[in-house]
Each structure stands twice: as C-alpha cells, then as structure tokens.
Subunit: 330 residues, 2 copies
C-alpha cells in the first residue's frame, strides 16, 4: 500500500480539466490528502466542467479559468508544482466528428502546450496524462492489452493518441517524467449527465433518476467495461507516486458486462425502471467499436492498482449522488 | 502491369506539396501520362518546395501557392478532381522538436483540412497520402511490417501518424477513398540538398558533388533502406489506380544498407570523395531510431509494386542531376 498522505500532503499539484468529472474527483481526494491544489479549466460549454463539482473544497483550491493552449499562462502555473494531472480535453466521439478542429485544438495542440510549458518552466514535475481506450478502436482481440495496435475509429481517438504520444516523446527526448493511463468507461458522481454526448452511462443514470425509459442501441449484447471514478483516481495517484510509471502507458480496465445486463443492473439498483432496444443511429454506428474490455494486468503488476468498487456499489453511490444534487447537473 | 496511361490520361489530378521533392517528380510523371495536373504548395521556407522542380512542365500544370489549412480555397480546388495525392507536409524531425506547433499545423491540421474539403466537396475523389516509416520509431524487429506498433520518437512522427490515421477514419466513417503509403528514405532528383535537416542523403549528395568530405554520425553501422523517387512515384500511382488500396496502409521499403556502405557506394559512384565518422550530435541522438528497414510484402502482393532502380543506378542519376542543376538547389 502506498502512503498517499506522505506523497501528496503539502505538495503543490496542478490539475488541468479540474472542474470536470475525473479532475474534480481527483481534486477532492488530493485536498483530503493535504495537497495544495490548483485547478485549470477552460469551462468550454458542454465539455463537463461544472463549478458545483468542487462544492465543499472551493475554499481550499485555486481555480484558473484558462485554455491549456495558453502556454504562457500555463508556464506561470506549472512552476514549482510537484505533480501535474493532465486531464483537460474533449471526450465526445460524436462532437469530434462534427467539429474535428475543436477536438484537435484541445486534445492535440492543448497537450503539446502543457508539455512545452513543463519543458521550459518545470522539467522536474511529475505528469500523469489521462488517455483513453478509444485509441485502440475496434479490438482485434479481448481483453485489449497495451500491445494492441492503436486503430482509432474517430477523430477523438486519433487526437487523444497524438496527445498521449507527445507525453512519451517528451519523456524520451527531454526526460520529462510523464505517464499515461488509458481509461475505459468511467462513471460516478460529478460525471456529465446532461445528454449522451460524452458518455451513455451518465445519460442512463439521469434517465433512471428521472423515471424515464433507457434506450439501448442495437441488440444490447455489446460488451463494455467500467471503472468507478474513485478507482480511476487511485490509479492516477499511483502513477504519480511511482517512478516506475515514468515514460509508461497503462490500461485501466473493469468488469466486462453487456449493455443489456448493465441496464438490468442499473434498474435493479435503482429499485425500478425500464429499458428498450432501439436501432443504432447511423452517426453512432459508423464509429462504434463493437465489444471492448481492457486488460489491466500491467498496472496491477507494476503499480499495485486494484479496482475496489464493484459495479453494483458504484452505481448505487452514483444514483444517490444524482438524486441529491441533480439540480446542479440538469 | 497497370496501364497508367489508361488510368490517368485526361484525368484531373491535384497534388498537395507538388513543388516539393516527391510531389514534383509525381507531377512530371503524371504530365507525361497525359493527366491534367493542378499543384498546391505553400512554399514554406525550408520545406522543400522549389519552382525549378517543375521546370519543363511549368506550362502544363496549374499551380496554387496555398496552405492546405485553407479549407475554403482547397474546397474549390478539389471539386471535379479524380485523384488527389496528398503529399504536403513538413518532414524534418529536428525542426519538429524545435517548433512543434508548426509541424502540428501542417501535418495534423493541414491534413484534416484536406479531408474535410474532400468530404464536403468531392467525396468520390481517390486520395493517396504520403505517410512515413517514422511513425514506427525505434523498431522492435526488422524488417518492420505494417503490424509493428507505432511508437514515434519525435513530434514529426506523432503528427504524421495522426494525419495518416485521419485518412483511415475518413474512409471508415464517410467512405472516402483514401490510402496511405509509409515511405522510407526516398532520394533522387529534386530532393532538398541545401542542408541536412530534411534528409541526410540529400546533404551527402551535395557534399560529394562539391568535393567535400561526408560526415557519418556514430559508427556508421546503422541500417537504413532507400527508395529511388521514381519507384515511390510508381507506388503512389498504383495505390491511386487500384480500389484494393482504399482504406489501407502500405509500407514501402528498399535495399537495406549501412550508412558506412552507403557512403562508400556514393563515393564510388561519384568517382571520388571521402568520408569520416563523427559523434552523434546530442539533439539527433535523442531522436535516433537505430536500425531500420521496412517490409514491403503487402504492397508487392496486393498492388504489384516492384522497386526497379538499384541504389547504385539511383545514386548515379541523382548525382548527374545535381551536377547539372546544382545552381537551382544551393
């Protein structure tokens, strides 16, 4: 067990995308651990940033509303930081096809800007990047390990891959202390639930809370795997704390489940609800990846990561959160 | 044998980067085949564009000095074209580390712009993209086939990968008729020989023509493979002519040779000259890829490509060209 208190207490930490889903959960955890947290977030509309996500810690974090493409401003903020969690970015596959340039600016140019700022102003900072299983595209085999060739099916996947590879290039060429985690479907409190653009599970959670029917695309047999956000936060902290992670890429991965079974479980945990199968919308069908589940052996072996929150438990906590705070999210 | 005359005669063809090395050689060949050639080139300083490259065909091609990032202008030019050879881009590994944003703009944003222009204005055009073996980085095995994981060591490699993957995404999502060739070291008439930024072999050719000593970095045992430009042009035409290539990526590849043996051969073909070993400059060392040679079985099997010009013959032709026309190149 890593003593996170010893690693992070009193340490200056920068979180890009810190008003978003994962970034804000990480901020809560780091504040709890005694870290001195600074948040950068562009608050782009519809990208997940939400002031309520830092409710309860708003007086203990410093927030800069700033696009990470502003390398000069970022340069001032990265100085003196011990850790940088680079979570800013756009995650919508559909949006990336509708406006590929915006996705490029954030996920490619923005991440280059973060790395350039660190190279110039703080080459010692430990950087953990949030990558995505979307870089693999439609899997050639399951579960997908890190050797699986990247073969993204949409612009977001290409751009997230480029942003991640920059981190590895800057490690090799300049010795920057970077690591990247390839996240799979992450869910939990503070996620985007306003529509289904960023993640379908957030939308399902909202529908269930509102007493609406869930729509499952296709036959519902598609497999996905899920991580509760606290487990993802744990992985980010482990990657930051362990020098073994430098220059490395790690898959996360969770319990594989069909979408039909997930819908059933969600309805069951909720204590009521319904779902139905609907045909795949064409714009989604053409960028769908089929079944996916990730092999997380590498991060388990090298960093000792273990997801601790079961899907049932995680869904229960998430539903409880949105029942209480839905007015801040839709 | 493909009858290129039947495929290209009378056909409207757009070449991005058409004043550069490979683009201009392709333009000469297409004019010879009776195609109606339009060239787009930004003529960025130090990127290889040169008006002399189209000497002899300047009255038979239409040239637009234009950045491919200008999607609106490009949109007007792609209309009605039957083929688009997408060769614009920056190729210098060193420059990409010194100015990563410029490399990003050209190789990532620029290629997205080309694809968006085609998607909107001419989704039927056949598009062949010039990729690079640089996407593989330092090889895990030799010869490198297309299944080798991409692992670029510099910004240029990351950006070229992203630009290439966009082409594949646009094929799958929108049915665009794209193909990408991953070029290895290409040499021949009209290449950049002003300095060693774009390719070392161009610089060596200039040094030999000028009677200067060649400098070989390291111990000279590094393996590279080379294609004479006419063979690369042949591959581009094959990929454009054959529907089998749509949505596909193909390696090119040539005779593997150590840099020491290449220097010896060049001096021999030149009828005189000298070389010496010098230490690797640090900025090159940190992005060096070690030995490389590509496996081109796939394009040989699927498209019938055969490189025809031996290294000895190709070097002889290249030296003859620069002896005659050096005043236009340095």
């Amino acid at each position: 067990m890593v003593d996170f208190g010893a690693v992070f207490a009193g340490k200056p930490v920068l979180i890009t995308g810190g008003l978003g889903f994962i970034g804000s959960n990480l901020a809560h955890r780091l504040v709890e651990l005694g870290a001195v947290v600074t948040i950068v977030d562009a608050l782009f509309p519809d990208c997940g940033g939400n002031w309520f996500n830092i409710a309860g810690i708003e007086d203990r974090v410093e927030v800069h509303v700033l696009d990470i493409q502003d390398e000069a401003a970022l340069g001032r903020l990265v100085r003196e930081k011990a850790f940088l969690f680079n979570l800013a970015g756009r995650v919508s596959h559909l949006d990336s096809m509708r406006n590929p340039y915006a996705d490029l600016e954030s996920n490619v140019r923005g991440h280059l800007s973060v790395l350039e700022a660190c190279r110039r102003h703080n080459p010692e900072v430990k950087i953990v990047h949030a990558g995505t299983r979307q870089v693999y595209g439609r899997p050639c085999y399951l579960p997908v390990d890190e050797s699986h060739p990247p073969n993204p099916v949409d612009i977001n996947g290409v751009n997230k891959l480029a942003g991640e590879l920059y981190h590895i290039v800057y490690h090799r060429a300049y010795g920057l202390r970077t690591a990247s985690l390839r996240l799979t479907n992450t869910y939990g409190p503070r996620m985007w639930v306003r529509d289904s653009r960023l993640t379908f599970i957030g939308w399902w959670i909202r529908r269930v809370v509102e007493g609406q029917e869930l729509e499952i695309f296709g036959d519902g047999r598609q497999i996905r795997d899920f991580n509760y956000v606290d487990d993802v936060v744990e992985a980010l902290l482990l990657a930051a704390a362990n020098p073994v992670a430098e220059g490395q890429i790690y898959n996360l991965g969770g319990e594989p489940i069909s979408l039909l079974d997930l819908a059933r479980l969600l309805v069951e945990v909720n204590g009521g609800g319904s779902y139905r199968l609907v045909p795949f919308p064409p714009e989604r069908n053409r960028i769908d990846i089929g079944d996916f589940c990730g092999d997380s052996t590498r991060i388990r072996d090298q960093l000792g990561w273990r997801p601790r929150v079961s899907l049932r438990e995680g869904l229960a906590r998430t539903l409880a959160y949105y029942r209480e705070y839905h007015r801040y999210y839709w």
